[in-house]
Symmetry: C2
Subunit: 346 residues, 2 copies
Amino acid sequence: MFQFDEHPHRRYNPLTDSWVLVSPHRTKRPWQGQVEKTPADDRPAYDPTCYLCPTNTRSNGEKNPDYSDVFVFTNDFSALLSDTPEGTVSDGELFQAVSESGLCKVICFSPRHDLTIPEMETSDIRRVVDAWCLEYEELGSQPTINHVQIFENKGFVMGCSNPHPHGQIWAQASVPDEPAKKQQSQRRYFEKHGRTLLSDYLEKELVKKERILFEDEHFVALVPFWSVWPFETMIVPRRPMASILEMTPAERDGLADAYRKLTILYDNLFEVSFPYSAGIHQAPTDGAEHPEWHWHFVFLPPLLRSATVKKFMVGYEMLANPQRDITPEQSAKMLRNLPEVHYKAK
Amino acid sequence: MFQFDEHPHRRYNPLTDSWVLVSPHRTKRPWQGQVEKTPADDRPAYDPTCYLCPTNTRSNGEKNPDYSDVFVFTNDFSALLSDTPEGTVSDGELFQAVSESGLCKVICFSPRHDLTIPEMETSDIRRVVDAWCLEYEELGSQPTINHVQIFENKGFVMGCSNPHPHGQIWAQASVPDEPAKKQQSQRRYFEKHGRTLLSDYLEKELVKKERILFEDEHFVALVPFWSVWPFETMIVPRRPMASILEMTPAERDGLADAYRKLTILYDNLFEVSFPYSAGIHQAPTDGAEHPEWHWHFVFLPPLLRSATVKKFMVGYEMLANPQRDITPEQSAKMLRNLPEVHYKAK
Ligand SMILES: O=P(O)(O)O[C@H]1O[C@H](CO)[C@@H](O)[C@H](O)[C@H]1O
Ligand SMILES: O=P(O)(O)O[C@H]1O[C@H](CO)[C@@H](O)[C@H](O)[C@H]1O
């Protein structure tokens, strides 16, 4: 008989209308491939060579202020620029290009070079949440900005070039592919059911319980049924909200707390500063109402078996379909049972 | 005025109906992040510890034959299994899973542990092409196999765990997401124009010339207009063919030759054994006619600036949209101007 936790199967992601191949039996595979270095984890509170530390000079010659909590500035090497001239290249349906304007910002989470989110106080993480809200609001109110992507690349293995705790915000004129797909699916669902897709999903997950990591009155952290990365997770607000701007002050605190709790579980998993890319998917800032959107915070970590062995999304995954070995239920169980106190604080 | 090679823009991929963000100005960004090791490149012709070398014993206890050209066997750690019981898990539209049966094979390109495709003779690569055709035909004729994905992961950085020259074939009941998207786009195009999308695309590219790497009477190698990876390329047959089975013997030789030529350019770019994931997209083996399909061989290499600095598809790319710095035209120019002789053979 077909057993979910034993036999290869495909799972459907209703948010992005895509599939993942799950191969539960494959975790027994020995690993002889590339192992990552575990970066030394003994950074000073202030590093004179770090371009994100307070009072240091960045590569464009600007000097950082002596900031004491959160510091936001425009990326010195932005992928998007606000002064991009408008234009189109179009040679039939096979050659289409459109100029894109926008803005990239960097947000330092703390003046302390040696901290990361799971090592920060909830009250300090709350300031990060406030800065996100402010940026989403300010950037989003510009007529030429229709989408604001807030994200964090953590760890060298995720292409992060500086261990100083920071995130990024890329704001632009068009809605990128991933959020556009999620918008379409959520709209379809909302039109059919009059409820957000994630409200209904949460309701069911809270009964099933097998993929829940933790919950409080405002937020639920879980491993999605359709997750792709070995320890992929999601923080979802209980109430449907189109964007982070709709949060009450108590919910902002709740988000800061959930962000901290989740990243502590991550760090405790392999007792290492756990790498990931994380980001918030929420309504575009196109001026329209978006009752279909239920914002959520997704975490995509690359590690699979240990602090040094990652899951490679290559070959089959790039060309055909994402594939995972360990099941979402197994991952949830591993994460859920970890201590709530950071391993370094023990 | 909007300049393609200077200003940020989005390009449309008509094959997958998706977009890529191009940021040409961003190549000036300094890199302080992770650098890869360049694996030692002095392997013996035979390695007694390699589970792919002739006469050695694999982890399941089987002994490899003393093969002299190509050797194909079933993967000892297959992600897909042929004896998967059928079954479905479905709890409304938000929880859908379906069992998936299939088969994974490994194909050793050569008995020589120390070779790679660009260092092999065209006549030996031709045997690889023949093996692909045989496998596609045999696997595809099984009633439960509707898709056959042929691919190669090359290099440790691409998750390849053994440097012995080899590729993989994953055959399965359903059509994975990427080829399914390409099928949909190609069908739409074919129904509208009565020609394959890639025939029309090739015709235009051969006039424009700026993204062509090389061509002969059978094949064209180019950097697609919509490519995502810094040095992503594609080998496309001039004639529309739904699958590799339609190739004439001369075309099979031509494919072997193009595969060799392209990988020599790659190796010569940074004078290193160039990592990539590559694979063939072609018609599903579902028994139907597929006049819309024009098969092609895509190469997705991760390196960006040097043998040790790769492009990280993280944060923004995972959450929003693929993004590239160097333009496809710049990449094509760099690759096209490289010597045709392998740097080691100089
Ligand atoms: O089968 P291999 O080479 O051990 O494994 C490699 O290729 C597979 C198919 O692309 C991936 O699923 C694995 O993550 C990767 O490490
Ligand atoms: O801006 P950073 O941190 O230097 O760069 C990192 O994040 C970007 C956004 O996800 C990616 O485009 C880069 O490839 C990655 O190295």
